[in-house]
């Protein structure tokens, strides 16, 4: 079996996450194409870490990410609004008490 490997779409899409300071979270910075994880990391360095001080990079196959959709966002995130007792401002405290 001999297939012509010519078109760019042979390469999967990877999402790139970078950490700009030690101790800070990794944040999504973009995506790229690569044939495997190793080259994905090298491409990520060349494309997304050319001059900003990047401490660490993650690459994740784009199809491995499951995300919420805007249209089901409202019902999906519903519990956020219902449980106001999760916020400190819900509670009534006697006046003059400090450091609570």
């Amino acid at each position: 079996m001999k297939e012509k490997v010519d078109s760019l779409d042979e390469w999967a899409v990877w999402e790139v996450f970078s950490q700009l300071e030690w101790g800070k979270p990794h944040e999504h910075c973009g995506s790229l194409h690569a044939p495997d994880a190793e080259i994905a990391l090298q491409n990520a360095r060349d494309v997304y870490a050319r001059r900003f001080s990047v401490k660490s990079l993650w690459v994740v196959p784009a199809n491995a990410i499951t995300a919420t959709r805007q249209e089901d966002g409202e019902s999906f995130f519903d519990p956020q609004d219902e449980k106001i007792y999760r916020h400190p401002s819900f509670y009534k405290l006697p006046k003059g008490v400090r450091n609570i």
Binding site: D9, E10, W11, V13, L32, D46, E71
Partner: protein, 309 residues
């Protein structure tokens, strides 16, 4: 309220649209057209500068030029990624470019005849691009706007390195001054054309402004660019090749002469001095890279096979 109205309301509220959000087909199509043209421009934009890498006058200037060209390639990649979030493959966009079906900025269809052109392209062409891209960074489509923010940060180095070349040559020998003035004479009008046709003759502008993909019109941006560039030319003793250029005290604008739109359309339609060269260079680069793509894919497949064996 139907989805189209909800979308218009989100836009009116200044919300940012993300890839998985519902959007009108027309919004999607317009963005793919715009972002892919922009991506192609970055990639083709490497070619006029590539012409001077081997003839840069010093190691410093060679390093700077290489870094700038690498940035342009990177900008192309950011933009292809942004376009792909709209559901089109990079390979398809690339195919459109190689088949000559896609547009890119017509300023790259002009030749780079001297080292001074490297300075003037950085100063004027990247300068014009920054004016446009700063506006696009506030646009309604998240991935495009975020790519613009990243690109604008890098472009400011491009503009400054260009202006440094211009300033250095304009303090140089008579021949160097002639060269840099000649480069300004050749690139001034094509730079003004980069903002696109005048508002009255720009078929896509109204829709793009309505959807906040664009936040200012072609003519507004062109005027902004002229206003900021005049004093930069004066500071290094260069003359912008427009006898009608004059300051309007009331509006504060530098009014400029008529743009040759006949030339603009001629170049857009493929008949500029370098259109054929640029396309030939892109096709050759794609074909010459085929073995690299093939080797990488085969290597990845082998590694996967040995990992699962």
């Amino acid at each position: 309220m139907d989805r189209e109205e909800q979308f218009e309301e989100r836009i009116a509220r200044g919300e940012i649209i993300e890839p998985k959000d519902w959007m009108p087909e027309r919004y999607r199509k317009q963005l793919i057209r715009m972002i892919s043209q922009h991506a192609h421009s970055e990639v083709v934009g490497m070619l006029p500068e590539g012409n001077w890498v081997s003839r840069a006058p010093s190691l410093r200037s060679k390093k700077v030029l290489l870094a700038k060209i690498q940035d342009e390639g990177g900008h192309g990649l950011y933009l292809y990624s942004a376009a792909e979030t709209l559901g089109i493959d990079r390979s398809e966009l690339n195919q459109q470019l190689l088949e000559g079906k896609a547009k890119y900025s017509s300023v790259f269809n002009y030749p780079t005849l001297s080292w001074a052109d490297m300075g003037v392209i950085g100063w004027l062409v990247d300068g014009a691009a920054i004016v446009n891209q700063t506006m696009l960074a506030k646009g309604s489509y998240g991935p495009y706007a975020r790519a613009m923010i990243r690109i604008c940060k890098e472009e400011s180095f491009h503009k400054k390195q260009g202006y440094e070349i211009v300033a250095t040559m304009s303090k140089g020998t008579a021949a160097q001054r002639r060269q840099v003035q000649g480069a300004v004479d050749r690139y001034w009008w094509p730079s003004l054309m980069m903002f696109g046709p005048p508002d009255g003759n720009s078929p896509n502008s109204a829709e793009l402004l309505k959807w906040r993909v664009k936040r200012a019109s072609n003519d507004e941006l062109r005027q902004r660019f002229v206003n900021m560039t005049v004093s930069q030319a004066q500071a290094v003793g260069l003359t912008l090749p427009d006898p009608d250029l004059k300051h309007n005290k009331e509006s504060g604008d530098w009014e400029f002469g008529a743009i040759n739109w006949g030339e603009f359309w001629r170049v857009v339609r493929g008949n500029g001095p370098c259109n054929a060269d640029r396309m030939a260079a892109r096709r050759k680069a794609h074909e010459d890279g085929a073995w690299v793509r093939e080797a990488a894919a085969v290597h990845a497949a082998r590694k996967q096979a040995s990992a699962t064996a």
